[in-house]
Amino acid sequence: MTAQPDASPPAPVDVSLGIGKLVVPSLIGGLVALTLGIYGRLHHPTGVVENLAGFTSAGYAKSWLATIATVFAIVQVSSALVMYGKIPRVTAPSWIGSLHKWSGRIAFLLAVPVAVDCLYGLGFQTYSTRVLLHSVFGCLFFGAFSVKMLILPKRGLPGWTLPVAGAAVFTLLVAIWFTSAFWFFSTFGLHR
């Protein structure tokens, strides 16, 4: 809602019209999240993923991928703060947009194989609070990310939409990381 003039999201011309443009992306995002969750629930998990090289090795591979993705996500949100002029005494360098985009792309593409492994091998599970939260957050993340990608090119949206979408995506990713990789590392150690 307080986008600086130099920030990329344009000022809303007609707010009601702008919000209307959110409907289809939001529906698609919801569909993405639901599809993932339903697939994870219906598909019988093979367990293969974590058994590939023993519980720990595959778990470590996934945990580290997720951790690297989270680091890129932190770069993403930091660069967004710079772009929006939210960091005092820091002016956005010319390459900040590229940093923002590429950190996001890398984070997303790192998260995809981890998510597929989780959904295919383990499924949407509910047997503990951590696992339930992780399953829900995981599905929501890809829904929220889809929404953000779909509204990015749209013009005339209210200024708060992108920050809100970005914050949701980032928060979900960190929550996913805490309920998986952080738990995994704190249970089994950083490496073995």
């Binding site: 019988h44 998990p45 093979t46 367990g47 293969v48 993923v49 974590e50 058994n51 590939l52 090289a53 023993g54 519980f55 720990t56 090795s57 595959a58 591979a61 996934k62 991928l65 690297i68 010319s94 390459w95 947009g97 590229s98 985009k101 996001g104 792309r105 890398i106 997303f108 593409l109 790192l110 995809v112 194989p113 981890v114 998510a115 597929v116 492994d117 295919y120 091998g121 383990l122 599970q125 047997y127 503990s128 990310f145 889809s146 953000k148 990608m149 779909l150 990015l152 090119p153 249970t187 089994f188 073995r192």
Partner: protein, 312 residues
């Protein structure tokens, strides 16, 4: 080689940004990102789907589990055991904007469906791995007939040990991807149990309690397990339960540790005879009927009890 004015597809840097063009139209890069993720996900999924059927028992899973996670290589389908249908190393078609996602170092190619297990499938910390390790208990006398069950101290698993007339069985699972069966003897107060993939048991016996650790899939789980006393009600007593069945042509073996108080932890192994059996969460064992429903098949669980000798 795209023409300069109307490239079919191309990307170029423009004032610090990447612009891609397809058939002369400027592409919506966020959408390209989404579709790249979708393509990557589908690729990984396909590799995963092909993987278990052909390679679950035929190994090929290298130390980096990301061999399947990165989708760099497609293993040959299981059905192509006929000559030549080997390793189709087709790189997944991830767009150029996926720099960090292709560290697949060990291709999961399988040239045959024969269950040729390689030792790389075992966890890295268990040197020598696949050959079973043995464990022994130097002190104290294990009772000739006893059952122990407990949750492990970490990892959300549970362990069961049953001893009967010189024989012993131990099982550990985490209701998830970890399951290990150990079998062996109980002689002169010592348990000598062996299991697949470096599974080992170190236990010391104290009055009414077995304390120690069990190594399963490369992870050590410690436990302190009290003796199981016979249950009273019509429910199945706490203890170790197993069931085997063939589901969709795949031999599965389920194991449950039923705890005092009714809690249970169960895992099910697929391709149960293979050295590296893919493992997942077991269906809930109904403690009234002693059965569980698995993909429309009724699993009938039998109790492995040192007290009564059933299952030995």
């Amino acid at each position: 080689m795209p023409l300069p004015d109307r490239p079919i597809f191309g990307c170029e840097w423009n004032r610090n940004r990447l612009d891609c063009v397809l058939l002369g139209m400027k592409l919506n890069m966020p959408l390209v990102t989404l579709l790249a993720g979708l393509a990557l996900g589908v690729g990984v999924l396909i590799v995963s789907m092909l993987g278990p059927s052909s390679a679950a028992s035929a190994s090929g899973y290298g130390a980096t589990s990301t061999a399947s996670a990165t989708g760099a290589v497609k293993p040959a389908p299981a059905s192509s055991a006929s000559g030549g249908g080997a390793s189709a190393a087709a790189p997944a078609t991830t767009p150029a904007s996926t720099p960090a996602t292709t560290p697949a170092s060990t291709p999961a190619t399988t040239s045959t469906t024969a269950p040729a297990i390689t030792s790389t499938t075992a966890p890295a910390t268990a040197p020598g791995t696949v050959p079973a390790a043995t464990a022994s208990v130097p002190t104290a006398d294990i009772p000739p007939k006893a059952d122990y069950v407990a949750r492990t101290n970490s990892g959300g698993g549970a362990v069961a040990i049953s001893v009967h007339a010189g024989k012993a069985v131990a099982y550990m699972c985490n209701g998830h991807a970890v399951a290990a069966w150990l079998k062996g003897t109980a002689k002169a107060g010592k348990l000598e149990l062996t299991g697949k993939n470096g599974a080992r048991l170190d236990v010391s016996y104290r009055t009414g309690k077995a304390t120690g650790s069990i190594m399963a899939d490369g992870t050590k789980y410690s436990f302190s397990a009290p003796l199981v006393h016979r249950g009273s009600s019509g429910h199945r007593p706490p203890g170790l339960y197993e069931a085997t069945a063939t589901v969709h042509g795949v031999k599965i073996k389920a194991g449950w540790v039923v705890l005092p108080g009714g809690g249970q932890v169960g895992s099910v192994e697929y391709f149960a005879d293979s050295d590296v059996a893919p493992t997942a969460q077991a269906p809930v064992l109904n403690l009234t009927t002693g059965t569980a429903q698995y993909d429309g098949v009724t699993l009938v669980a039998s109790l492995i009890s040192g007290l009564t000798g059933s299952g030995f």
